[in-house]
Amino acid sequence: MQQQSFDALCAYLKRTSGLILDQSKQYLIESRVLPIVKREKLGGLADLVLILERGTNQALAKEVVEAMTINETYFFRDRTPFDKFRDVVLPKIISARQTERTLRVWVAAASTGQEPYSLAMILDEMSNKMPGWRVELVATDIAEPQLTKARSATYTQFEVQRGLSTAHLLRYFTQQGDSWQAIDALRSKVQFRQFNLLQDFAILGRFDVIFCRNVLIYFDVATKSDILKRMGRILAPDGALFLGASESVIGLGTDFAPDTEHRAFHTRGGIGSALGQPIKTSGIAPATPMAAKTPIAPMAPAVPGSRFATR
C-alpha cells in the first residue's frame, strides 16, 4: 500500500468523521477498504481517495467510513463494566431517583447490538427492584449495516457463545435455524438509531449512564476531549460513564474523573457528585424522550420450543 494513499485516506477520514488512523491501523485499511477498491474495480487506494475527495459518491463514502468503524463486540464484553453497572451504579441510581423513577442509558457505539442487549438483560433482571420505572435504553452507532443487524437481534451460534451464559441464552433468545434471535421483549427494550459522535448530543436528551466503550480510540486527543466535554453536558451530575478497558480520561480535560473506589467507570469530575455522594436532581433538565417510554416489566421466562426436535 502506498504511504501517500494511506495518508490521504487517513486525512479524509479525520476530516469527515473525526476518525484517527495511525500506522498501527494500516492493517484495517488492508482488510476492510481494499476489498471495496477491488469490488469497485479501481486501480488502487489512490483512485478510491480521489473519488471520496470529489464528494460525488456519498454511498461509497459512507461505506468506507462504516468499514473502518466496525468494532469487535460480544455480549457482556470484559464482564466487569456490566457487573459494576448492575451492582454499583444501578442500585445508587435506584436509590437516588425514587421520586422521578426514570432511567436513561445511552450506548454510544452499539455496533451490532450485543452491548445494549447485555444491558437490557441486566435491567430486566433488576426489574423487580424498579417497579413502575420508566427505562430508556438508547443505542447509537455510525454504521447503518451494524444497526440493521442490531435491530434484527439475530446472531450466529458463535456470537451467542461469546460472553453470553447458557442461562441468558435460553431465557432471552430463541433458535431460528442456525441462528439465535433475541425475544421481542428484549428487543423492544432498546431503541437503535444512527448517530455520529461528531453530531450535537442535545437531540438525544439527558442520560444517567453512558456506555462509550472502545470507540474513543478512533479519535484524536482534541476530538476525544470534545466528545467527553459534550457527554459531560448531557450526563446527570451523579451519572456514570463507562469507557473501554484500555481507555482513560487522563489528559482529556476535567469533565470526567475515574471512580477511584470501583475503577470501572468515570464520574463527572470537579463537582463533587460522584456516585454515593448526596445529589441534587431538581436541577437536571428532563430527558428528551426519543420514543414512547414504557414501564419496565419482567420478561417471560423461556419456554421450551416444541418445534425443536431432540436428536
Binding site: 451460534q157 461469546r162 447458557t166 441464552l169 435460553l170 433458535q175 421450551p304 420450543g305 416444541s306 425443536f308
Partner: protein, 121 residues
C-alpha cells in the same frame, strides 16, 4: 492445580481440549465415554468435566444424571461440549444439572469464556 476431565469419544477433540486446557494450567484427564468417566470419578473426583453428548456405551446425558447422584457429584462443574445444538437439547442438559453448554464447533475463546462463567478461571 485444578483437574478437568475431558470426556469425548473423538481423540481429535480430546487433543485440542487438552492443549487449550493445559495452557490454562489445568491438570487434564481424559475418558472416551460416559462409563469410563463414571469409573474415573468414582475413584477420584475431578474439579470439572468437559462433556460430549453423543458417545458409545454411555452418552453424556446418561453420564451426567448418574454423576450427579454420586456422593461427591454435586459440586464439580460440568460443561457440555457437543454438536447437539438444538435449543431443547440445551434445556434438557441444563435441567439435568449441567452448569454450562458449548455448542460445537467451538474455539479457544468460547471454551475460556464458559469456564470463566462457571468460576473455573
Amino acid at each position: 492445580m485444578k483437574q478437568i476431565l475431558v470426556v469425548d469419544d473423538s481423540p481429535v477433540v480430546r487433543k485440542i481440549a487438552r492443549r487449550i486446557l493445559t495452557d490454562m494450567e489445568f491438570d487434564v484427564a481424559e475418558a472416551e465415554d460416559g462409563s469410563e468417566a463414571l469409573r474415573f470419578c468414582s475413584e477420584k473426583m475431578p474439579d470439572a468435566i468437559l462433556l460430549d453428548w453423543d458417545m458409545p456405551v454411555m452418552d453424556g446425558l446418561e453420564f451426567l444424571q448418574a454423576f450427579r447422584k454420586l456422593p461427591d457429584g454435586k459440586s464439580p462443574k460440568v460443561v457440555f461440549c457437543t454438536a447437539q445444538n438444538h435449543q431443547q437439547s440445551i434445556m434438557r442438559a441444563m435441567t439435568a444439572g449441567a452448569d454450562e453448554y458449548i455448542m460445537k464447533p467451538f474455539d479457544e475463546m468460547i471454551l475460556r469464556d464458559k469456564l470463566e462463567q462457571v468460576g473455573l478461571v
